[in-house]
Symmetry: C2
Subunit: 248 residues, 2 copies
DNA sequence: AAGTGGTCTAGACCACTAT
DNA sequence: TAGTGGTCTAGACCACTTT
């Protein structure tokens, strides 16, 4: 077969699967395929658009990953109803806060403690194990927008404290630099009312409301190494998300 | 070629691409391919695992979608550093709250208003346009956990009010039932301190902190039809996420 | 020029579902 | 049993980066 890629999309820069996906997205948006309805089979689509089955399927897959479709083997591919399950509040806004180039980090406090029972459990060490406590303030254009208070294990065998202690970047401990010592982590957000000391550091009125984002990070041995929280007063962080069919 | 699917993975139930992905994930987890390093080329991988190039590529794609890899055309595929950009706080917990079968909805207030300038702008109608205001309380095992206060357009030409007015389900307006009238929406979360009236309805102490999730929904004509907010006192909603390499 | 990722073909077989 | 989605092959060409 010497004739390759000889479909009618060839002249366009956009890949064929993307064009097919866009066409199907249009049919969903205009009500041709309403929520709950069944799409034509992948084979029918490949015939209709004059592309190979794999290409048609790739279009279906990309729409499935957008949350627009769901497939049931042996039955068919269906247009999903709008729902919240598949969406999430993006952390990009937090990432932007931390990595913006108009931000500076100021270390407000740093000391060696013995881990409380609660903290020791979280870090998976014996109660009383040495930990380093750091309090950082993140300034955006000189104005405080984020307060980080965290503990890292003090462990001579694991030299990652150096990265964690990086005074310049809040991002060192995430491996944003070249270290890459952190394998995984979990984050949890809660609403929070600033305590007097927190409000003072953040130059906010007492009892200002804020996001509290608690974190726990693990190294490549799956051992916890850092625990703490970000405190971001409203409105310096807003969690947003879009659901449904926006790109028509 | 009569010999089909004759690779050494054939006897397993797990698809070949998934096995290859798992193997690569393991190499990343154990430090063979540390963050920032370059993966072998897709062709090399397909040789090594004795699968076709497309199958090897499918494995790479799935790891890319997990946020573990990033590809640069012409250059190579690299192991990503841990970062926050690609993650998000899942809305599944909110969805669970709303759709759980031990929850009931109680309508606390319902009336027809004229839209304030602010609301009219959000709903894209003239100031003073008729709107229906609804206040719903969501009870989990009889205990109030969520307060929804929202406005819907009062428009005889668009009969979707019926779905929105569904007293039984908070989910009607999301198309969770068969209606599917909503095409898209945007959500925004903020920390919030309950006002006296809100606290009373939710049976919370005054000034309790909560998540406020503001929403704006659009119909299939891309016209806004509903706007309002969910109020969920801590700790009935917790936004969580995991980042990095958890599945080893 | 050589290597790499991105796309694509024209089939094939399997697992599952509906009839 | 026929239809559907899920996987897979063994190549191919193109766009891009690196040397």
């Amino acid at each position: 077969m010497s004739e390759t890629n000889s479909n009618r999309f060839k002249e366009s820069l956009e890949p064929a699967y993307s064009q097919v996906a866009r066409a199907l997205r249009g049919f969903i948006a205009d009500g041709t395929y309403p929520p709950g309805s069944r799409l034509p089979s992948a084979l029918a689509i490949s015939d209709q658009f004059k592309v190979s089955p794999m290409t048609a399927r790739q279009a279906i897959i990309s729409l499935t990953e957008e949350g627009l479709l769901e497939s049931h083997q042996g039955s068919g591919t269906y247009v999903k109803h709008l729902g919240l399950r598949d969406s999430g509040f993006s952390l990009k806004s937090l990432d932007d806060l931390i990595t913006a180039d108009n931000t500076k980090v100021r270390i407000m406090d740093i000391k060696i403690n013995k881990a409380s029972p609660d903290l020791a459990e979280k870090l998976n060490v014996a109660s009383g194990h040495k930990v380093i406590q750091i309090v950082r303030l993140l300034l955006s254009d000189g104005f405080p927008v984020l307060l980080q208070s965290g503990h890292v294990l003090y462990d001579p065998c694991r030299p990652l404290v150096e990265a964690e202690l990086d005074a310049v970047s809040l991002y060192g401990f995430l491996g944003g630099d070249k270290t890459g010592l952190i394998k995984k982590g979990s984050l949890e957000a809660r609403p929070w009312m600033l305590l007097p000391k927190e409000a003072e550091l953040l130059e906010q009125d007492p009892k200002t409301i804020a996001f509290l984002i608690e974190y726990l990070f693990y190294d490549f041995s799956d051992l916890p190494i850092g625990h703490g929280a970000f405190l971001i007063p409203h409105p310096f962080l807003t969690l947003k998300t879009d659901i449904g069919l926006w790109n028509t």
